[in-house]
Structure formats: C-alpha cells, structure tokens
Amino acid sequence: MRLSSFLFTGLVKLLVGAFPRWIGCGPEPVQRIYFANHTSHMDTVAIWAALPIRLRYKTHPVAAKDYWGRGVRRYLATQALRAVLIDRTRSDPNANPLAPLIETLQSGESLIIFPEGTRGASAVPAPFKSGLYHLAAQFPTVQLVPVYLENLHRSLPKGALLPIPLTCTVRFGAPLALAAGETKEAFLERARDAVINLAGAAQA
C-alpha cells in the first residue's frame, strides 16, 4: 500500500471513524459505481477508507478538477486516492465531461461519485445531476450502489478548516439498475431516494 494513502486514510479514520455498514450488498469484488450524498471534503476518503483494502485500489473517487486539480490537493487526490478528475466548469465546451469516467469504467474499475455535483449542508441530498443516468445507460452491467454518509455534514462545514471528530458510518445499500424505458428524471429521483432511505436505515 502507498504510504501517502495509508497515512491519509488513517488520519480520516481517526477523525471520523468511517465505519462501513453493508446493508443492501456485501464488499464483493464486482465493478460498481458507488454514489453518495456529498456534504464535506472528507466524504471521498471516508467511503474509500470504508472499503476493504483489496477493493480500494480498484475504486476511483471522482473529484472536481477546479478544486482538486492543483498543488497539494492534486497530489492527495491523484496520488493518495487515485482519483479521476472531472471538469465541472466545462472549459472545453465540445468535450464530454464524463470522458475520464467512461474511460475508467471501460478499463473494468469502479467509481465513487457524488451526483449532487457540489457539497450540500443538510443531512438530505440535493437533486442529482444527470451524469449518473448517462453512466447507467452506457454501462448496464455495472452495479449502481447507493451510499449514505452519516454525520459528515456536521463535521466539516463549508469553509471550515479543521474537522470536528464525529463517528461517521458509511452505509452501502442494495444495488439499482436503470429500468427499461425509465426516464432520466424518474431514474435520478429513484437513485436519490435510495440514498435518502439509507439515512433512516437502522444501525446494524
């Protein structure tokens, strides 16, 4: 294991625990897109740290290039977490912003995405952006696993530097798939509900 990722995940575990709860599926080595609610900069590492080590190295977090693309952040994102950077600002209007994600999925590896596109401040996620739908349509065999991150919205509010240590559980729900003929709106709503339902799931 790389030292930088070891230290980084260790630090995040010390601060927020990141205890995995496999509620609707197990930690199986199949190709997946984990999609989660997004409330803090620790979300990515929390999910990553909650995965068993053998799955971590086949699972790439997706991070915004405008924030994670420079300096120390870039080093942490691309070296420690092996993140895939996505161009949120669409600096090149002709390029498909999902291209790096598609490439990763084509190589057989898994992704962690935050379909809200940005960090929210509440326990309930904002409406999802359409990227998840396009990936689901293009890769029907990849399992779509909803993930709910509990408590992290209290730990590192937007603008704060030091996280408040809180025990965060990472709940993995039952995989969904795009139904035949399902519209984009209906699918995104269903995916978001799957994440919200995990918020109320009893602590196992």
């Binding site: 625990g17 205890f19 401040a121 408590n151 209290r154 509010p157 704060a160 030091l162 408040i164 240590p165 809180l166 025990t167 559980t169 602590q203």
Partner: protein
C-alpha cells in the same frame, strides 16, 4: 516483589482469566441450542475478544511508561468525546467550542497531568473550560437553545476529558513507601471497575430476576448488582498487596470504587438513552462504544484519586 514483578504477575493472571473465558465461551457455543442463547454467546465471544485487545493495548502502554499511558488515555478521551458529540445534537454555530474541546482542552489537560500540575489540571476544565466554551459559542450569535447546547458540550468535556483523565493522574501522586508503584494503582482502579462490570453481567445472566432500572439500563438486575458488586469488593480486598492500602482499607476503597462505577454506568446510560441511543458507539465489538466501557471509570476515577491523595500522600 518489585512493582514491575507485581505488574507482570497481574497481567499474567489477567491473561489466564481471558484464556479461561475464551475456552468457556467456545464450550458453551458448541452446546448452544436456541436462537437467543446463540446470540448471547456470539456477543459473549465478541466481548471476550475485545478484552484481549484492550488488555494487550494497556499492557503495551504500561510497559512503555508514563508518557505512553498518558497518550493512551488521551486517545480514550478523544474517542469518548467523539462518541458523546456524535450522539449530541449540536448546531453549525457550535463549531468553535467543539474545535476548542477536541484540539485545545483535551491535549492541554493531558499535558498538564504529564507535567504534574495538579493545581492547574484540577480546575482547568471545571472553571476555565466551563466559562470559556459558552463564551466562544456566544460569538457565533446563535441564541437558539443556547443553554442546552452549552451544557451538552460542558458535560461532554467534563465526563470524557476531565473525569477520565483522573485515571492516569494517579501516576503523579507521591505516596511514601510506594515510590515507582503508581502504575499498580491505575491498574487496580481499572481492574476493580471493569471486574465489577463483568461480574455484574455474569451474576445478572445467571441469577438475574429483578430489574434494577428497566428504562435506564434494561440489562442491569438487582441480583447482578449485589452479586457482582460484593464479589468484586472481596477481590479488591484480596488485591491489597498491589496497593499502599491495608486489606481492610482496600475492602472499603474497592467498595467505593464499585459504588461509583455503578452510579456512573446508570447516569451515563440515562444520558445515552435520553439521546435516543442504545450504545454510545460501535468501535469496541460486543461492548458498543468507548464510553460504554469507560462510563463507570469516569465516575470512579476522580473519587479514587481524591481518596488516595487525601489519605495516603
């Protein structure tokens, strides 16, 4: 026998007990019939396994010395505080007092103990923390449930940092004729408190009929309390050789430790259930959270410290 030899004997004795507990657990599991007894035994096995880890961690910290023991208890406080704050509804405007509690008060308390500043560490959190935490919250300008929010953070820091830190504070007491033996005193405290919890659990499972306080702590029974409490007090008296106390004194002191431990367990269980939880956390398999293991210690440690400091130094 030197203090070090006594420590080795004691940890050896604890290991023998753990081996026996693991064997008994394995034997019972083989005979378990019903669904319910199987669940109980699975929990028992998880508890015993967690004890193995806790004892090994404690033994390593003791072997490494005072600084390592302080760091270990600093981490225990940290995890306990993390659990307390996780279950306590705080608001975004509590950010500054929470950061102060975790990253200033907690390390400062253990550093003061490390430098043997009794006069300062004894009043640092109860006076300065008490006053400054709400003051820091006032700057955020959020008056909603201000008193409730402040007292939650004050409670968290008092129990998880201040009270627990009295355990390793035993290391700085100067007891005539007992020099270099203070780690034994800390081990004595932990042993009595935890043994009391364990024996109350065992007596409760074997003979428990009458619930003690069903709404606060559903598994506690009067039979468990009396059987476990009395047998622990007797063991405490028999362990007088590891303390600066006479057997009669040890009997009385271990009775006080057991009593305070019960009060701590009940009080923090009431706090926990008031916050809508069954366990404080999940980090110790079979036991729940760090605070489920430290609730009794947090009440017993300060009183034990004061008794020893007042009568024996």
């Amino acid at each position: 026998m030197t203090a070090q030899q006594k420590l080795i004997w004691l940890f050896g004795g604890i290991l023998v007990v753990l081996v026996l507990a693991s064997l008994i657990g394995a034997l019972l599991s083989k005979r378990a019939g019903s669904e319910r007894s199987r669940a109980t035994l699975d929990n028992l096995r998880a508890r015993v396994n967690a004890w193995w880890v806790m004892i090994v961690v404690l033994a390593v910290a003791f072997a490494l010395g005072k600084t390592a023991t302080l760091v270990l208890f600093g981490l225990v406080s940290f995890f306990a505080l993390r659990e307390f704050i996780t279950l306590t509804p705080t608001r975004a405007s509590d950010y500054v007092p929470l950061v102060l509690a975790f990253f200033v008060l907690l390390p400062a308390q253990y550093i003061l103990i490390g430098y043997e500043q009794y006069g300062t560490f004894a009043i640092f959190i109860p006076v300065y923390g008490f006053l400054l935490l709400p003051a820091a919250a006032a700057f955020a300008g959020d008056t909603q449930e201000f008193l409730e929010r402040s007292s939650k953070i004050q409670w968290a820091t008092m129990i998880c940092i201040y009270c627990i830190s009295y355990g390793p504070a035993l290391l700085l007491l100067k007891i005539p004729g007992y020099e270099d033996s203070n780690p034994l005193l800390l081990l004595y405290l932990l042993l009595i408190v935890q043994l009391s919890d364990v024996l109350q659990y065992v007596f409760g499972k074997l003979f428990g009929r009458t619930k003690l306080a069903p709404r606060v702590s559903p598994s506690k029974t009067v039979e468990g309390l009396i059987g476990g409490g009395l047998s622990t007090t007797l063991i405490g008296g028999a362990l007088a050789w590891m303390t600066p106390f006479t057997p009669v004194q040890a009997l009385a002191i271990s009775f006080v430790i057991v009593t305070l431990g019960v009060l701590g367990g009940l009080t923090l269980s009431a706090v926990k259930r008031g916050l809508g939880a069954k366990d404080w956390g999940v980090m110790i398999d079979g036991h729940g959270g760090m605070l489920d293991r430290m609730d009794s210690v947090s009440f017993a440690a300060p009183v034990f410290f004061h008794i020893v400091r007042f009568f024996f130094t």
